[in-house]
């Protein structure tokens, strides 16, 4: 009973921290990027101010849009919110652990992506259509790579829930294997594409021909844009959590043991900070690639994912 209560509190804490902290993570990354470029950068709390300002504005609806115009941002937000709740952050063994299968999480990301794409097609103007078509193209390779990666994780951890993978990787002695290296590279490539970061998309671009994500939300304003922007922040945090949980599971707390929480929370913050630094340094040192080079980038991720599964077999045979 006490264990259940602790797990419940841990789950609520995780959800609250993620939902409150997501804009802060974005703010930190923006600040770090600006520093790396030698600028002073916006204040850390700028994303909160941005969302608050958007909430106060009047929401405009284009006259060419249908009644579902307001539905797509909500759909995308809800899918990302559920995904964020399911992916563990500072602790394993949350109440949502059983529902958090890796395939379900891929599906939720796909749901958010399709809602955003439909939002882009809603108004019926060129930018939205082009953005949606490119997003559909990226999604094809990204989803294939993500599924193939699951094979390597499932073979090592004997389970397919993200929570179970984290527990297995933290407790069992997996060691540093070639397969996990490949898997990490593939996962990072997919994560960069899914969250719309450089080198596949430019998060700070607003009106250029190569943009993808920004093109689809071009017609949204006011509280609908706030919902979409907040969804984007949640997605970034969810991906950081996913990578952190699978590849850096050390020091994660146990939901039923309250004394392990402070350490888990501190390490979680540390991991997020490290990932934010790595992301911002990577972003300022790379250029955005052409739209039609991205599938090659993701195709390489797909192959790496397959190699990870095959190498595991070889490693099991030679006893490494």
């Amino acid at each position: 009973m006490l264990g259940f209560a602790f797990a419940f509190i841990a789950t609520v804490l995780h959800i609250v921290l993620c939902f409150v902290g997501a804009p802060l993570v974005t703010g930190i990354i923006n600040k770090l990027r600006a520093w790396a470029l030698g600028r002073r950068g916006p204040p850390l709390l700028q994303p909160y101010l941005h969302l608050a300002r958007l909430l106060r504005k009047i929401t405009l609806v284009p006259d060419t849009a249908t009644d579902l115009f307001t539905f797509w941002p909500l759909g995308a937000f809800l899918a990302l919110a559920v995904a964020t709740m399911l992916i563990p952050g500072f602790t394993t063994g949350m109440l949502t652990a059983d529902a958090g299968d890796y395939v379900t999480i891929i599906g939720l990301f796909a749901l958010a992506r399709s809602a955003t794409m439909l939002g882009g097609l809603e108004t019926g103007f060129g930018f939205g259509g082009a953005g949606a078509a490119r997003e559909a193209l990226f999604g094809i390779f990204a989803e294939g790579a993500l599924l193939v990666l699951l094979l390597a994780f499932a073979l090592l951890a004997q389970t397919t829930s993200v929570d179970g993978i984290a527990t297995a990787f933290r407790t069992a002695h997996i060691g540093i294997s070639v397969s996990l290296g490949f898997a990490l590279a593939a996962m990072l490539a997919v994560a960069l594409t899914e969250t719309g970061r450089i080198p596949t998309d430019n998060p700070s671009g607003h009106l250029e021909l190569g943009m993808v994500h920004e093109a689809m939300v071009l017609e949204y304003s006011g509280r609908l844009l706030a919902l979409l922007d907040y969804g984007g922040m949640l997605r970034l945090l969810a991906w950081m959590n996913l990578i952190g949980t699978i590849f850096l599971p050390f020091g994660m707390a146990q939901a039923t043991e309250i004394f392990s929480w402070p350490g888990g929370l501190a390490l979680w913050a540390g991991k997020l900070l490290v990932m934010a630094v790595a992301l911002s340094i990577f972003e300022v040192s790379r250029a955005k690639m052409r739209v039609f080079r991205v599938p090659e980038f993701l195709g390489a991720a797909l192959l790496l994912g397959m190699l990870a599964g095959v190498f595991l077999f070889v490693a099991a045979r030679i006893g490494a």
């Binding site: 009644d67 796909a110 060129g126 193939v148 397959m306």
Partner: protein, 554 residues
């Protein structure tokens, strides 16, 4: 369940027998709602339609081989008539494939239990189900007849063919089962998934898109069946149960949402006079009820979470992972490739569904017909609503449906033992509800309410001129344009620049060339002069005598 009855007519001295067990009951249950829906959608006056339904029911309930073949061929013949009523062009190809499938099935049913019988069954049933590489007729023939028949052909007829495959591969031919049977089915299914999903993204006609998606779903079901067959032959109880669950649940879901989408496509045709996505757009405004139902169907087609299509896909992915974890290095590489194909196929299906809804129902109208479309008629509305309501339990309580499928799985693979489903749509729904409540609270507490309708910003371009009420259609992404990135990177490589189906290029075209060559040969024989004929007869006689003499002398 093992209820048999004999009928008073049929083969002399034998009669016909009907037999009902869990498997046929499941497929009758899949067939029933779509038959009701198709009848409601305007087919109830057609005698041929009821003949078609009778054929399918006979094939499903058959207790002996003759009844099965009789029902199967009745189904083929009646559907051929219905296809011909719609469009005569694909009817010939359709009849040819039906004859091919009959020619494979009839000997197979009377052969002893062997691998040869399985190959013939797989060819015959696969050709009728639209399994690659014998699928190229399906995207041509299924869109041809009226919507109700298309719905039943895509949702029901391919299931009857798969039923025959399941019945023979798992039950009647079980003693001779080999692992390679399953591998062959998985390979054919994976090919179908890839080609069907890719073509669904590239095609422009609404009904052709749906037919290509049927090829994809037949592929998914076959991959599940193949994995189950493979696992059954290698004695993997958990995997065979999981794969069978995936295949059967996929068949149930597909039997609900594909007829829904086809009937909707027929209503689009009725309201606008076209099904080309390049002439539609903005239908959600004039046809909100149709739009909502089509959105539901498209969500199932794309296998999105909280839709009925997700649970089967979820089970199938897990079955593929389970299969990749067993076996040798070749199995590892092959099943990893299968996973990649399933992932790519799933994302392609998502792109196809988004394209169907986004270009057909959202945005601006691309023609005046699309702008002036009126909503659903009463009959099709009832039909689509029935199918939509039936989708709900499959979407929200897939665990319960899997419990109902258990007797079928026990019949097909008695030792199968599937782990419980770890996908919980109700939990996801609860979490989504919580997030929606939180968002609503923030919005009412700090947000500004109200919406204001304005001209679209469109990156700063000006308003369209007055004589273009919906703006310039060319400034909106077209169906071809939306598919262009996929075409450029995948389509050209796999289908070639002409978009011809690879099965047509590599299977039908060589067959056609062979036929031409044989006709030329026959023509030369016919035109031979009397001297040539006499010389031929003489030569044969000499050869015969030589052979005889050498045989006796030696």
């Amino acid at each position: 369940m093992g209820n048999s009855i004999g009928l008073m007519f049929g083969l002399p001295g034998q009669g016909m027998h009907l037999h009902l067990d869990a498997l046929s009951l499941l497929f009758v249950c899949i067939l029933l709602p779509q038959t009701v829906a198709a009848a409601l959608a305007g087919m109830r006056g057609s005698f041929t339609f009821w003949l078609f339904v009778l054929g399918m029911a006979l094939a499903l309930l058959a207790g002996d081989a003759f009844t099965l073949i009789f029902g199967f061929e009745l189904m083929s013949a009646a559907s051929w008539l219905l296809v011909m009523q719609g469009d005569a062009r694909p009817a010939t190809l359709y009849a040819g494939v039906a004859i091919f499938s009959g020619a494979c099935l009839i000997p197979a049913l009377f052969l002893p239990v062997s691998s040869l019988a399985f190959v013939l069954i797989a060819l015959g049933a696969g050709a009728k189900a639209g399994l690659a590489p014998l699928h190229s007729w399906l995207p041509r023939a299924h869109p041809a007849p009226p919507a109700g028949v298309s719905a039943l052909m895509s949702g029901g007829m391919v299931k009857v063919a798969l039923y025959v495959l399941i019945r023979y591969a798992f039950v009647n031919l079980a003693p001779a089962a080999q692992p390679w049977w399953g591998v062959a089915l998985v390979a054919a299914g994976a090919l179908s998934v890839l080609i069907g999903a890719l073509r669904a993204v590239l095609e422009v006609e609404l009904k052709t898109v749906l037919a290509c998606s049927t090829v994809e779903h037949v592929g998914l079901i076959t991959v599940g069946l193949g994995l189950a067959l493979y696992a059954k032959a290698t004695g993997d109880a958990a995997l065979s149960g999981l794969a069978l669950q995936a295949a059967l649940l996929c068949a149930v879901a597909h039997g609900l949402f594909k007829p829904l989408l086809f009937i909707g496509a027929g209503e689009v045709k009725h309201a606008t006079g076209t099904t080309s996505l390049n002439w539609l757009g903005g239908l959600m405004r004039g046809m909100p009820r149709l739009g909502a139902l089509m959105l539901l169907g498209a969500a199932c087609m794309a296998a999105l979470p909280l839709g009925p299509g997700f649970a089967p896909a979820f089970l199938l992915f897990h079955a593929a992972i389970g299969a990749a974890a067993t076996g040798g290095i070749l199995a590892r590489i092959g099943f990893s490739g299968l996973l990649a194909v399933l992932g790519i196929g799933g994302a392609l299906a998502l792109a196809a569904a988004v394209r169907l809804i986004g270009l057909g129902f959202l945005g601006r109208p691309r023609s005046l017909h699309a702008a002036a479309a009126e909503d659903l008629r009463r009959g099709p509305y009832l039909a689509m609503a029935l199918l939509g309501v039936l989708c709900t339990p499959v979407a929200l309580v897939p665990g319960l449906i899997l419990e109902l499928l258990n007797p079928v799985i026990m019949l097909l693979a008695p030792q199968a033992d599937a782990p419980p489903l770890s996908y919980a749509p109700l939990t996801l729904l609860l979490l989504a509800g919580l997030a929606a409540l939180a968002a609503g609270f923030v919005q009412t507490r700090w947000g500004t309410r109200g919406l204001r309708e304005v001209a679209a910003w469109n990156g700063g371009f000006g308003r369209p001129p007055a004589w273009l009420p919906f703006g310039d259609p060319h400034t909106q992404a077209s169906a071809t344009g939306f598919a262009e990135p996929v075409m450029r990177l995948l389509g050209k490589g796999l289908l070639g620049t002409t978009l011809a189906d690879p099965a047509e290029r590599f299977l039908l075209l060589p067959l056609f060339r062979l036929q031409t060559r044989l006709i030329r040969l026959a023509e030369r024989v016919r035109r031979a002069t009397i001297r040539e004929r006499l010389a031929f007869v003489f030569a044969v006689l000499v050869a015969f005598l030589l052979a005889l003499g050498l045989g006796q002398g030696g």
